[in-house]
């Protein structure tokens, strides 16, 4: 039987190597050994951070980030029952509802941000592309999201990002949800003008901004 440290290392190495079977084995061994789930989740989160770093340096590409994020989700689910039984809370940093805004089907940048947020241990509810403002806001309310994140690649779709803020205000829930926006035609100035809480030019900045928003 492997030692605690050996299982932790195996889990870390597997997720960094995008090895779905290897990570699943490590998680199973951990559960069978009745060890603290949070310790393993933290180690897996370290692995996801490494995956994110490798993406930033182009050693890894988007599919690897997305598959690693799927592995992380599967592992978290497997460990959640044990955590619930022990009365422990989720190790997730917070919930982000994310979508490429209405009229815009250019969702690759949003997918990268979603993958990197998942890599940074955020619970991400990805609403996809061409998401109506009403749908995005409703999802934020339904999921009790800490952050609503919207992306736009076109100057003709970015005005809808401002509507997120307006709709949250109109529904009286603005104080419950921070708003983060990004996309090629946007700028900090534009984000400020529409009343967003954060602007991110890329996925790295998005993760940092999300961490800051959560800590506020």
């Amino acid at each position: 039987m492997s030692s605690e440290n050996e299982i932790l290392q195996k889990a870390y190495d597997s997720i960094v190597a995008i090895d779905e079977d290897g990570t699943a084995e490590a998680v199973k061994e951990w559960i069978d050994a009745d060890l603290d789930p949070i310790t393993l989740l933290n180690k897996l989160a370290d692995g996801m951070t490494e995956v994110g770093s490798r993406f930033e340096t182009m050693e890894y590409y988007l599919p690897q980030v997305m598959i690693a994020a799927d592995i992380m989700d599967t592992s978290s689910n497997a460990l959640s029952e044990k955590m619930a039984a022990a009365g422990e809370t989720s190790a997730m940093k917070g919930t982000v509802v994310i979508g490429t805004i209405e009229g815009d089907i250019h969702d690759l940048g949003k997918n990268i941000v979603a993958g990197m947020l998942r890599a940074a241990a955020f619970k991400v509810v990805d609403m996809g592309r061409d998401v109506p403002v009403t749908t995005l806001v409703q999802a934020a309310i339904d999921n009790k999201a800490d952050i609503v994140a919207g992306s736009a690649l076109m100057s003709t779709t970015m005005p809808y990002l401002g509507d997120i803020v307006k709709m949250l205000e109109g529904r009286g829930v603005r104080e419950n949800h921070k708003v983060m926006v990004g996309g090629a035609p946007l700028s900090q100035e534009y984000a400020d003008n529409i009343g967003a809480d954060a602007y991110a030019a890329n996925s790295h900045q998005a993760v940092e901004a999300a961490k800051k928003l959560i800590s506020k």
């Binding site: 993406f55 182009m58 590409y61 599919p63 089907i105 990268i112 076109m154 003709t156 890329n202």
Partner: protein
């Protein structure tokens, strides 16, 4: 052009595939296998195509990719597969030449080859970048006033009557029309009303784009942009645009905007995917030409360093050596106008793709097309002059020039710290529509530098 009815039927009858599965597993897995099988690799010291065996391998791999993974229709969540005989028959129909524009400004583009000594054609313009409504026609006039530019690539109208352009709204349709009308007005004011334009950029929807055609706006002889989605995908909206252009006999350019490090992976695999998507663009849209942006880096946004330049140059070379398709490219430096760096980035990217056989250069548009009013005719002049000079150089010398010059700005663009430069109104006299002395002097200084590095300018 592929039969729209067949595409429709195949799309609705094919098995459903989860898009996530196509993106994360099917496409990247096959791309990696093909790069390995054909030994296609990226070398930062060889951004201008030198190895024609590898160039042809990129084409073979692209054909294999298309046959194996097909094209994903996001509207039906299904994959359309094509037979090899069907693809080859379609590609045989490519004309290898095309005429754009009307009257005195009619321009006939004949396919260039890799290392062709004939200069590529230049369409100056904003490449879709946003322009304030009060300056829009003036910016277009500044492009039309450049004698070396044969056409204009439209920008996006930032506002209309002070109102933001919103996709799917009536304003979007009016903005599309305004974009074309004001571009034509700029051409008229420069005395070149028959010039071809490339659009529409102010609208993303099919109804908006279609409304760019009309009296005083886009003509059938203008280049109607039909965009594929990234990563071997299309949707009904793209096909609706194709129905419009085919049923109304409109000139088409099939375009695509790749991302480095996305679902198509790194430089080698992105080059394979770009070529495969070029084949799709020719067939799906009945396009004589295919244009791409440089594959932008998702972290820094840049598309002018060695890796994206390698991809664009090799994509062109592979298509040129194996099809009769025309190939155009968006020149998107990170730095803005009136900076040394924007000129250096333009020189590297334009030289490499010219050596790779490019037919039409779009731009240049600084700030990667993200700045407001960051476009004018002067970058078109610079692009055209570099294209003419680069065509005279050997592939080996061009590579040496590009590799050496790229090193001078690579770190800055990769860090996302390129200078924003000046706006149209800051580096042009808006009344006379002439560039500032500062800008002209800057170009003269850069030309002298490039001459020392081996480029021979005609002007």
């Amino acid at each position: 052009m592929l039969d729209i009815f067949d595409l429709y039927q195949k799309s609705i009858e094919a098995d459903k595939i989860e898009e996530k599965n196509f993106d994360n597993r099917i496409l990247p897995k096959k791309l990696n296998e093909l790069a390995k099988e054909y030994d296609i690799t990226y070398r930062p010291d060889e951004i201008v195509p030198q190895d024609m065996d590898m160039v042809d391998s990129i084409y073979k791999a692209a054909m294999d990719l298309l046959l194996d993974v097909g094209i994903y229709n996001i509207s039906t969540s299904s994959v359309v597969k094509l037979e090899e005989s069907e693809i080859k028959a379609q590609l045989k129909l490519l004309p290898g030449e095309k005429t754009y524009g009307v009257g005195n400004e009619k321009v006939h583009v004949v396919q260039r080859e890799v290392g062709d000594k004939r200069a590529p054609t230049t369409f100056a313009g904003a490449n879709g970048g946003a322009i304030s409504e009060e300056y829009y026609a003036k910016v277009m006039e500044s492009c039309a006033r450049e004698p070396l530019t044969a056409g204009i690539h439209c920008g996006t109208v930032a506002t209309l009557h002070g109102m933001e352009m919103k996709a799917r709204s009536p304003i979007e349709m009016l903005g599309a029309r305004a974009e074309a009308v004001w571009t034509r007005e700029g051409m008229r004011m420069a005395g070149r009303p028959g010039m071809p334009m490339v659009g529409i950029m102010s609208s993303v929807t099919s109804e908006g784009q279609i409304f760019g055609d009309g009296p005083g706006a886009m003509r059938p002889e203008d280049m109607h942009l039909l965009c594929l989605l990234n990563d071997m995908k299309f949707d009904w909206d793209a096909l609706k645009k194709a129905v419009n252009t085919s049923q109304n006999s409109l000139t088409v350019d099939g375009c695509m905007c790749p991302i480095m490090g996305g679902y198509t992976g790194g430089p080698a695999t992105t080059a394979i995917a770009n070529v495969a998507e070029g084949l799709v663009a020719y067939m799906l849209f009945g396009a004589a030409s295919y244009s791409i942006c440089p594959p932008f880096n998702p972290m820094s946004g840049e598309g002018s360093s060695a890796a994206p330049t390698f991809v664009s140059a090799h994509t062109g070379a592979a298509l040129k050596r194996n099809t009769k398709g025309l190939y155009s490219n968006y020149v998107f430096p990170s730095a803005g106008m009136c900076t040394d760096m924007m000129i250096d980035e333009t020189a590297v990217y334009v030289s490499a793709i010219t050596a790779g056989g490019i037919d039409i250069l779009f731009g240049a548009a600084g700030t990667c097309g993200t700045g407001l009013d960051a476009y004018a005719g002067m970058p078109g002049r610079i692009t055209a002059e570099i294209g003419r000079a680069a065509a005279k150089m050997s592939l080996a010398d061009m590579n040496e020039f590009c590799v050496e010059l790229e090193k001078t700005y690579a770190d800055v663009v990769k860090a996302g710290n390129a200078p924003k430069g000046k706006t149209f109104q800051e580096c042009y006299d808006v009344k006379t529509v002439k560039p500032s002395k500062e800008y002209e002097d800057l170009w003269a200084k850069s030309k002298a530098k490039f001459t020392d590095m081996g480029l021979e300018f005609e002007f």
